[in-house]
Symmetry: C2
Subunit: 346 residues, 2 copies
């Protein structure tokens, strides 16, 4: 069973020799070879230049025996394709921020995929290189999360502009989210045409919503994306940071796999959602600062929670930039060592 088959089986709850493993943000600042590239290229240049994006995508695969690559990109490629100017460096800014119906009318809603060809090119390069050996993931931000950046014009602590729009101008909010949703569906279809094995939807900020507001302002758009992608039979992994408060709601969106952060145990997820729920996660990225023996112990214990079936081993959030490489090696090796019979319990 090679890595790609292992990954495909896990997404579908089929038998595997062990859970496949990859790490969110496995490509990036934790790798010295990435930091070396960044000395010569800006972040946005890396991800919009297909050869460079493909190179960064492959960097972690040369170091770690992970089963999947995820395309090196950013969730803000959608706002950029819609015509917002995205700037990184000293915090990120999106200009002009979307503050009403006029802002939405000015977005370039047609032909967005034409402005995302660089991602398609990068995916084709990586797909060819990985051949049939490893899995390749595409991804996009979930609409609520992407819209939060578009409205706030960058990151935010209080989401005051976004929440004001949600509550005071619901029609404007609905229109913006629909625009983002439509562009995201087309974009994920493009990635699927390029041969990805699965796509992940990152809902980094949906965990900031109350369950009621999540059902009203975020869930319908995620559901629509997943429904529209269903004919492709490509598994969708839906990740919410803070999913513990939204488990039933996230499941109701219909993804093949739920991405689980580390604040809720996989055992509790299965208890609440059913034993057949397919999960990805969920070691605390902070555990990678521990000694290798402790990382190993906790990784094995985490897999024991699911028995390794219907489980893609991963962190519960992205690798932090200052993570020791030894910690990443220890995590990946522990997953490889795991076997359903012989792990000591903790």
């Amino acid at each position: 069973m090679n890595a790609r088959q292992r990954f495909a089986n896990a997404c579908r709850g089929l038998p595997v020799d062990r859970p496949p493993v990859w790490l969110m943000r496995q490509a990036g600042r934790s790798l010295p070879e990435y930091r070396a590239l960044r000395e010569h290229h800006e972040f946005w240049e890396l991800l919009t230049t297909p050869e460079l994006a493909a190179e960064v995508t492959r960097q972690p695969l040369r170091r770690f025996e992970v089963d999947a690559a995820i395309i090196f990109s950013d969730i803000l490629v959608i706002p950029a394709a819609l015509g917002q100017k995205v700037l990184f460096g000293g915090g990120m800014t999106l200009t002009p921020p979307i503050r009403g119906a006029n802002g939405i009318a000015a977005l370039k809603t047609s032909g967005t995929n034409g402005r995302l060809e660089y991602v398609a090119e990068a995916l084709k390069i990586v797909r060819e290189e990985l051949a049939d050996e490893q899995a390749l993931l595409g991804f996009a931000g979930a609409p609520f999360t992407v819209a939060s950046y578009m409205v706030e014009g960058g990151g935010s602590k209080s989401y005051s502009r976004l929440k004001a729009m949600m509550y005071r101008e619901p029609a404007t909010y609905e229109r913006l989210l629909s625009v983002v949703t439509d562009a995201t569906i087309e974009y994920l279809q493009l990635q699927i045409e390029c041969g990805v094995d699965a796509v992940q939807l990152f809902d980094s900020w949906a965990g900031e919503l109350s369950p009621d507001d999540y059902r009203k302002y975020a869930q319908p758009f995620v559901k629509r994306i997943i429904e529209q992608l269903a004919p492709t039979e490509t598994p969708v992994v839906y990740f919410i940071n803070g999913i513990g408060n939204l488990l039933e709601e996230a499941k109701a969106c219909g993804p093949a796999v739920l991405g689980i952060d580390w604040r809720v145990s996989l055992e509790e997820v299965r208890r609440r959602l059913g034993a057949n729920t397919i999960v990805q996660g969920n070691l605390d990225p902070g555990v990678l600062y521990a000694e290798p023996a402790e990382i190993r112990r906790r990784t094995l214990a985490m897999i024991d929670e699911t028995g390794g079936r219907g489980h893609i081993a991963n962190l519960g959030h992205g690798v932090a930039p200052d993570t020791p490489l030894d910690g990443i090696y220890a995590f990946v090796e522990a997953v490889q060592e795991w076997n359903s019979g012989g792990n000591e319990k903790v």
Copy 2:
């Protein structure tokens, strides 16, 4: 029934005419009169000068008919009393950061209350002014949260230093948390001697821990504080930002009241922990950006979840600095309008 009695009754699950109301961070940057004071005084100067701290504490009571004041202070007064230098302005820093046993040995662990007299003085001023009319709350940071600042030397995204200490040097971690816990117990006893009606423990970052790690690295210290304060019969409100993943664990600490953030409904809290659980919260502070009518509707619906009994109405997190004053008025007035029979359901 005056405000102070209403608050005292609510903390004990006794009958009230309506839930008492106050807002976390009701004193501070959302108020123009606070911003005016800040033009002449630094933040740390305000909170360490008893007359000024008392003045800021009273500011929201002049505007809003809240039932309780909370002393204007900061959870970092404990690191300061232990001898760390705390600097605000352009981000906050604590120097030297605690990086091992030597750092802990250098802390001034005895006589911390002598270096917190300014808080006692401010409390006495406010207590006298409020007389028997309104409730007064004291507070402290919970040990895990306070220690995170002490070890990281400020705020953090990944808590890499703290987590490295937890996992690699458990004895050092335990020693630091014990030092913080002991100082916090004495400090809260001092506040209780000054006449506060309740104390709140803010565990702002405990929601970043996995449930297993919470039980091991945060819960024992909170439990110890609450046990030590029990003879005073002063209610402890225990607030975790992200409590939804830690409900049973937080309850097991034994606080009189659980402070609930907005990511979990009060209905779910009572379903999981029992109908008699006394709660504080939990409107999303982001709802204060909505129209007053919508704020009113949501506030009444939030109280209907508990029927108003054993419930201190509050936000699910602190007031954001850019919150419109109209929103705060609408929230407080809605709580005052609530009555157990006559609210339209939503």
